[in-house]
Symmetry: C2
DNA sequence: TAATTTGATATACTTAAATAGATCAAAATC
DNA sequence: GATTTTGATCTATTTAAGTATATCAAATTA
C-alpha cells in the first residue's frame, strides 16, 4: 500500500478514536459492518470511494484532492485546528468520561421520578449541563474534575437518600462548565459565543 | 452519487484537462484502461481507493481527509494556487500549443541534419527554448505569440530552403521565453530563479 | 471475579470494479 | 476531403469489495 492509502486509513481511525467511538458504534452510524471497519482500519481491503466518503462524513471529514505542493500547508491547517489546547489522547479520554456520565444519567432517569423534588431538580440540571459540555475543550485538570463529578453521581445513585451528594455533583459540574465556557472565550479571539444561562452562576 | 464523489471525479477530469492530457495519455501513465477512465470521469463506477490514489498521483494531486470546517479554507488555497494569472481554460490551450510545437520539432529532427549549419543551429535553439517554457505561466497574449511561432515553424518546414523563417521563429520564441521568465519574477515576490542563459538576450 | 465490550478473523455468498480488446460517432488535424 | 484522435460504450472474464453472521482472546467495566 502506498503512503497515501496508509495516511487516509490512519486518519480515519484517528478520527474515530478522537470522537470516542468504538468500531461497533461507527458501524451503526455508517451502515458498514464492524468486521469490515476492522479490515479497513488495518488496510486489509482496497475500499471503494463511496464507502470512504460515507465513513468520512460520519466522522466529520471531507475527502479532497489537493495539489501536491499544497499538502504541507493543508496538513499544518489541520494540525492547528485539531491540536489546540488538548494534549494527544486527552479528547478521547474526555469523551469517554462524558459518555460514562451520560450513561449514568440515562440509566437513572427512570428512578429520578421517585426522588424528592430538590434531588430531581439537581438531576435534570446535571443532564442539561452535561449536554452543554460536548463541544467545549478540556485539559487534564478539567477532565479530572469531570471524573470527580462522575464519582459523585455514582455514589449518589448508590445511596439515593443521602442528602446533598447530587447537589454537590450538580454544582461542581456547573462550575466546570462555566470555567470551560470562560476559557473558550479567552482562547477564541473574537466575539464570545452568546450563552443563555439558566443559573445565576454566570461569569461571562 | 453524493456531492463529494462528484466533486472528486470532477477534480480529476479538470486536472487531466489542465495538463493537456487525453484519456489515452493518462491511461498510459496510470496503467488504467482508457475505457475505465471514461467511466470514472462520468461517475459510472464506484472506484477503488487505490485507483483514485494512482490517478491523483499522476495528475500531481494528493488525497486528503480534511475536517469539514476547514473545507472552505482549503478550497480557497487551492483556488489561489491554480488561478494565478491564467484565465480558465488558458493553461489547457497553452499546453496544446506547446505540444504541437514539440511534435513539429520532433518530426523535423531527422531532416534537420540536412539543413545548412545556420538553420540547424536555429532548430536546436528552438528545441532548447521550448523545453524551458513548460513551467512558465502564459496569458492569452503569450499564447497568441506562441501560436505565431508554431505557424512560422510549420511554414519553415514546408519550405526548408527559404531563408530566415526558422531564424525568425527562433528569435520570437526566445523573446517570448525571456518575457515570460521576466514576468514570473515579477509575480513571484522573492528571489528570482537562477537562469543560465545561452544567449545574449538576457533581460534578467 | 464475573460480565460486557472491543477489535480481529473466519466462512459463505452476492455484486461490481478492473481488465482486455473492440468499435463507433464526433471532433480535430492535416 | 481524408485521416487521425478522442471520449463513450460494448462484451467477456477475473478478482475482490461488501455483506451477514459467528466466534475468539484481550481489554474494560461493574
Amino acid at each position: 500500500m502506498t503512503y497515501s492509502l496508509e495516511h487516509i486509513v490512519g486518519a480515519l481511525k484517528a478520527a474515530r478514536e478522537e470522537k470516542g467511538l468504538s468500531q461497533r458504534e461507527l458501524s451503526a452510524r455508517a451502515g458498514v459492518p464492524q468486521a469490515h471497519i476492522s479490515k479497513i482500519e488495518n488496510a486489509a481491503v482496497d475500499l471503494k470511494l463511496s464507502s470512504l466518503v460515507e465513513l468520512a462524513r460520519v466522522l466529520g471529514l471531507e475527502l479532497m484532492l489537493v495539489p501536491r505542493s499544497l499538502v504541507p500547508a493543508v496538513q499544518t491547517m489541520i494540525g492547528s485546528a485539531d491540536g489546540a489546547s488538548s494534549p494527544p489522547g486527552e479528547t478521547h479520554r474526555t469523551l469517554n468520561e462524558l459518555k460514562r456520565l451520560r450513561n449514568l444519567l440515562a440509566q437513572g432517569t427512570a428512578q429520578s421520578t421517585e426522588l424528592p423534588p430538590d434531588a430531581r431538580e439537581d438531576w435534570e440540571r446535571l443532564q442539561r449541563t452535561v449536554n452543554e459540555l460536548g463541544h467545549l475543550r478540556f485539559g487534564p485538570a478539567e477532565r479530572e474534575q469531570l471524573r470527580r463529578v462522575v464519582e459523585q453521581v455514582r455514589r449518589a445513585q448508590k445511596h439515593p437518600k443521602r442528602a446533598g451528594t447530587l447537589r454537590a455533583a450538580s454544582n461542581e459540574l456547573r462550575t466546570l462548565r462555566n470555567r470551560l465556557a470562560h476559557g473558550i472565550a479567552e482562547i477564541a479571539s473574537g466575539p464570545k459565543p452568546a450563552y443563555i444561562l439558566d443559573d445565576e452562576d454566570d461569569n461571562a
